[in-house]
């Protein structure tokens, strides 16, 4: 299950989507909106996405993780639009027969998501607003 969604992320739905009786180890990463960043008090965030490409990139990450790690299923959900403090912006869930693979696949997927998936965060903080620009990772041309 790959989702770029305006609605709240429901963790139970994602766990349901990946878990089955043969894959008992489930690793989850959940990113939620923090109330501070580089010393500023954050009020809320807005996420913009290159929608179709973002979904394709998330599908690629899932497929690559399934290839690299001995996992059964992977689900990735990312929010779009406005998010309040404490809300989940992203969730990655990986299920496998043994725990190491699930945890490694989960980590791989969230690390890669932050490098390749075309989504941008705008931070609205006390006294202003700013687009957050990532490091860009290995894909960034020089």
């Amino acid at each position: 299950m790959i989702r770029l969604q305006a609605e709240s992320i429901r963790l139970e739905d994602l766990v349901q989507a990946v878990q089955d009786d043969a894959h008992g180890a489930v690793a989850i990463f959940l990113g939620t909106v923090r109330d501070h960043n580089i010393g500023r008090k954050v009020l809320y965030l807005e996420y913009e996405a290159y929608t179709d490409m973002a979904v394709r990139e998330m599908e690629k990450i899932r497929d690559l993780a399934l290839e690299k790690y001995d996992v059964g299923r992977i689900a990735i959900a990312h929010r779009s639009g406005r998010l309040e403090i404490g809300e989940a912006s992203v969730a990655v869930v990986a299920a496998s027969a043994h725990r190491a693979a699930a945890m490694e696949a989960c980590r791989f997927a969230i690390d890669r998501l932050k490098e390749t998936v075309p989504i941008w965060k705008k931070e609205f903080f006390e006294g202003g607003e700013a687009w957050i620009e990532g490091a860009g990772g290995p894909m960034r041309p020089v």
Partner: protein, 81 residues
Amino acid sequence: MEVRFRLFASLSEKAGATEGTVTLPGNATVRDLWGELVSRFPALADTGFVPLVACDMEYAGWDSSLEDVAEVGFLPPVSGG
């Protein structure tokens, strides 16, 4: 040939546009398209970063040919998650 461009996040704010089309010679590259966009939207001359490029939603380089490419996206370094 005619190519559709997409701008995102700070790039679309700077340009005051999210998308449009540009007509270019048949042997044009991504770099030529960008040059055209900088003429059209002078604020893009100073982005503060080298944009990422996607041709038909696949990451591509600045010297990629635009032949058979319908849409080029210029992306700030991503910050999802």
